[in-house]
Subunit: 192 residues, 2 copies
């Protein structure tokens, strides 16, 4: 029961932080959204920051598995896996009418200069995603799908930050144009 | 004197919004930073939102002129202008130890889903910057500096969102690695 309550609070936090950001969200709002009685919060979390760090860790764990699953499917070529991974994310953003963006991108923007604890955690998550993309790009190079002109880690850093930028721009335009530009240039010109 | 006070409030707003975001900044803090007496705020601005919109408009006007100046220097080739523009911005980010990021990128992330007035204004600014980059890329194509394989507007959307993503990532890593990856891939592989 305790675990269930904690999970409900983390899920509510993920949803509301994604929609409204960290500072703009109150603990009371999270408790109400999770249907958890007032006063329970500090039974599970030492502070709002502790809660925020655990929300991010929980979200990152799920995303890590999605990336591992998506980019590790050895029945598809490395480039096909990569394209498919981004296509799935484009569809998800379209389904949400380009609201919200990415929790890690959003909180990186909001919190990297505000709290060293958040910055360190977010930095590790970017680094993990980057390493996962780099491993797939390395395979694409090994199999001759893309030329060996760039270090896979540099290429992965560029893909990841460009993706985050396209997601950000789509949040503003509220259409798929920035995501289409990302897919078209990345797969039509860069990884080619 | 009234104009001077208003300008001081806008400058303080730009600085504090950049450092802390919109929601996390109080009007009192802006007044104190500008050295303006309490109670004066609503003499100049109808609301915090009105103030925010005017801060953004003021910042965008300056950036528009910088872009116009940087990308319009006809003594340099289009690609040299573009590279130089991004290099100057890389140096500015390095000088600030990769804090703050870009006001337009930051507020796009924070406010696009919160207020249609902010979203519309930010969308117009992205579109203006994109058009300015596209004009320079079009010239690079016309002069044979880059191949005519992509629509300049698509290429400009990609450059702009990739840049915003690299700035965001640098805010988290607190080093120039993401910006170096951006410059290396953009000018070493994509616009080549």
């Amino acid at each position: 029961m305790a675990l269930k309550t904690k999970m409900a609070l983390l899920a509510a936090g993920e949803h509301i932080f994604l929609a409204k950001g960290y500072h703009h969200t109150g603990i009371q709002e999270i408790l109400e959204s999770a249907g958890v009685p007032k006063g329970s919060f500090y039974h599970y979390f030492a502070s709002k920051e502790d809660f925020g760090l655990q929300v991010i860790a929980s979200f990152a764990k799920t995303q890590h598995l999605k990336l591992k699953h998506g980019l590790g499917n050895q029945t598809l070529s490395p480039l096909t896996r990569l394209r498919s991974y981004f296509e799935v994310n484009c569809q998800a953003l379209e389904a949400s009418e380009f609201r919200y963006g990415c929790l890690i991108g959003n909180l990186s923007q909001e919190l990297a200069d505000q709290s060293e604890a958040f910055r360190t955690q977010l930095d590790q998550i970017w680094a993990t995603w980057q390493a996962q993309l780099a491993a797939c790009l390395q395979q694409a190079q090994d199999q001759g799908e893309i030329p060996v002109t760039q270090n896979p880690l540099t290429l992965a850093a560029f893909c990841l930050s460009s993706w985050q930028g396209a997601v950000l721009q789509a949040k503003v335009t509220k259409n798929s144009v920035p995501l289409q530009a990302f897919m078209q240039i990345l797969f039509g010109q860069l990884l080619y």
